[in-house]
C-alpha cells in the first residue's frame, strides 16, 4: 500500500494539540513507518503541498493568514480533521469574540490594558490582520472528522489515526468526543 501523505497545521491555537500529538510516544515510530509527514510545524516544508491524504488542523480561524491557509488546506487535502477544541468550537482562541470586532479587541489589549505608550501594532506583511470574529474550522471549510479535547488526549488521537491508516471510516466512540 502507498504511504499515506500526512500533514498537521497550526492555526489559532496554543500548540498544545501538537504537544499531545508528540505524546503518542512509541506510536510515532509506527506512524513514521506508514506515513510521510509532508507538512507540519515539526518538519521543514515551506509550502502546503498538493495531494495530501490526511491533515490534522489545530486551532481556530483567527486572522487572515489562518483563513487563506485553511482554504488552501481544504483544496489540497482528502481528509480534514478538526483537531482539538479550538478548531472544533473556537474555545480559548474565541474568548475575545464577545468583546466585539478586531478594533475593540486590539484596543482592549494594547491601549486599555497598558499605562505606557499605548499603541495598536500595525505591520502589514509582517503581522497577519485579525479577523473580526474567531470561528471554528467547520464554519469556513467542510470538515470530515471532529477530534475534540483541550488538548485531545494522545490515545484519542491514536484511535483516529489507526482507523484512518487502516482505510476505515474513522469514528470516535462514546466518551471520546468530550469537550474540554
Amino acid at each position: 500500500m502507498a504511504r499515506l501523505r500526512l500533514a498537521t497545521v497550526w492555526l489559532g491555537g496554543c500548540s498544545g494539540c501538537h504537544m499531545s500529538f508528540l505524546d503518542l510516544d512509541e506510536f510515532l515510530m509506527d506512524l513514521a513507518d506508514r506515513v510521510d509527514v509532508v507538512y507540519s510545524p515539526v518538519v521543514d516544508a515551506k509550502e502546503y503541498p498538493e495531494g495530501v491524504d490526511l491533515v490534522l488542523v489545530e486551532g481556530a480561524v483567527a486572522n487572515e493568514d489562518n483563513l487563506a491557509m485553511i482554504r488552501r488546506v481544504r483544496e489540497r487535502t482528502r481528509i480534514l480533521v478538526s483537531f482539538g477544541d479550538c478548531a472544533v468550537t473556537g474555545n480559548v482562541t474565541a474568548l475575545r469574540n464577545p468583546i466585539g470586532g478586531s478594533d475593540g479587541v486590539l484596543r482592549r489589549s494594547f491601549v486599555e490594558q497598558t499605562d505606557r505608550d499605548p499603541q495598536i501594532p500595525f505591520a502589514p506583511g509582517v503581522l497577519p490582520v485579525l479577523l473580526d470574529r474567531v470561528t471554528p474550522v467547520h464554519s469556513v471549510v467542510s470538515v470530515d472528522l471532529y477530534l475534540p479535547g483541550c488538548p485531545p488526549p494522545a490515545p484519542r488521537i491514536r484511535a483516529v489515526l489507526e482507523q484512518l491508516l487502516d482505510g476505515r471510516p474513522a469514528r470516535l466512540a462514546g466518551r471520546e468526543i468530550k469537550f474540554g
Binding site: C150, I177, K178, F179
Partner: protein, 241 residues
C-alpha cells in the same frame, strides 16, 4: 389509589395517578435525558431534553416533555427514536451556541451536566453560529459567584431557593436571548437582602454558572443530590445515606 397502564418503549408499565411520564419511565428502568429536572424540585419543562413521542389517535405522534406530562391510561410512548435523538442533539447544540461555553477553562469542567449531555447525545461539534453575547460575572457575594456565560436558564437555582430554602432570591428577567437570572430585583447578589447564603442554588446548578468563590478550572463539584436528601428528610422523614 388509581393506577394507569401504559406502554413505554414497547414495555407495559403502570403509573400511579399524578405521576409524570418521566417518573413512570424511571421507576421502570427506562432512562430519559433531563437537564432542568432535579430530584427534590418541582418540574417546569424548561430545557425540552426530555421530549418523548406520544402516539395520537388516528396515527402519528405528538411531542411531549416527559417531566411535565402526566402519564395517562393507554398512552403509547417512545423515548428513543431517530427524531427525538436529532431534536435532543439540536437542543444541546443550541444551548452551547446561546452563551459562551469554554469547557477547558471552566470551573465545572469534568463535573458539568451540559458537557456530559453533549457526550451522551453525540455532540462532537456545534452546527449553529455561536451568538457570543456579552455576559456579566457577579462576584459581589462573599462566598458564591455567578457567571452568566455558562447559564442555561434551567431555573434550578430559582426553584431550589424558593422551594427548599424558602428565600426566593432568584428570578428570571428579560426575554429571549436577553433573559438572565437575577437576585432580588436585579441587585448585585452580595447586596441581596433575602439571600441567606445557604448555598442551595449552587448545589442545584447543572453547569459552571454558579460556583464557590476561588474555585478554579475543574474544581467546582456541585452536590446536586443534597437537595433531594433535604426534601425527603423533611417531607417523608426518610434520611437516606
Amino acid at each position: 389509589m388509581s393506577v394507569h397502564t401504559l406502554r413505554i418503549d414497547e414495555k407495559d408499565v403502570s403509573a400511579r395517578a399524578g405521576q409524570t411520564i418521566l417518573e413512570a419511565a424511571s421507576e421502570n428502568g427506562i432512562s430519559i435525558p433531563t437537564l432542568c429536572h432535579l430530584e427534590g424540585l418541582s418540574n417546569v419543562g424548561a430545557c425540552r431534553l426530555c421530549l418523548v413521542e406520544v402516539a395520537v389517535v388516528g396515527g402519528g405522534t405528538r411531542l411531549a416533555a416527559a417531566c411535565v406530562t402526566a402519564a395517562a391510561e393507554e398512552m403509547v410512548i417512545q423515548t428513543d427514536t431517530d427524531r427525538l435523538r436529532e431534536y435532543r442533539k439540536m437542543i444541546v447544540e443550541l444551548l452551547f451556541a446561546e452563551r459562551n461555553h469554554v469547557c477547558s477553562v471552566c470551573v465545572a469542567n469534568n463535573h458539568c451536566e451540559l458537557q456530559e449531555m453533549a457526550v451522551s447525545q453525540g455532540v462532537d461539534h456545534v452546527r449553529y453560529d455561536y451568538l457570543e453575547p456579552r455576559c456579566d460575572v457577579d462576584l459581589s457575594h462573599p462566598r458564591f459567584g455567578l457567571d452568566h456565560n455558562r447559564c442555561i436558564l434551567c431555573t434550578r437555582c430559582v426553584r431550589a431557593c424558593d422551594e427548599v430554602e424558602g428565600a426566593h432570591t432568584w428570578d428570571v428577567s428579560g426575554r429571549g436571548t436577553l433573559s438572565r437570572v437575577v437576585t432580588d430585583l436585579n441587585a448585585p447578589w452580595g447586596a441581596s437582602e433575602t439571600c441567606t447564603s445557604c448555598g442551595k442554588c449552587v448545589m442545584a446548578c447543572p453547569t459552571g454558572a454558579l460556583f464557590h468563590q476561588s474555585s478554579t478550572v475543574s474544581e467546582m463539584i456541585h452536590e446536586r443530590t443534597r437537595l433531594s436528601f433535604l426534601v425527603d428528610a423533611r417531607e417523608k422523614k426518610q434520611w437516606h445515606a
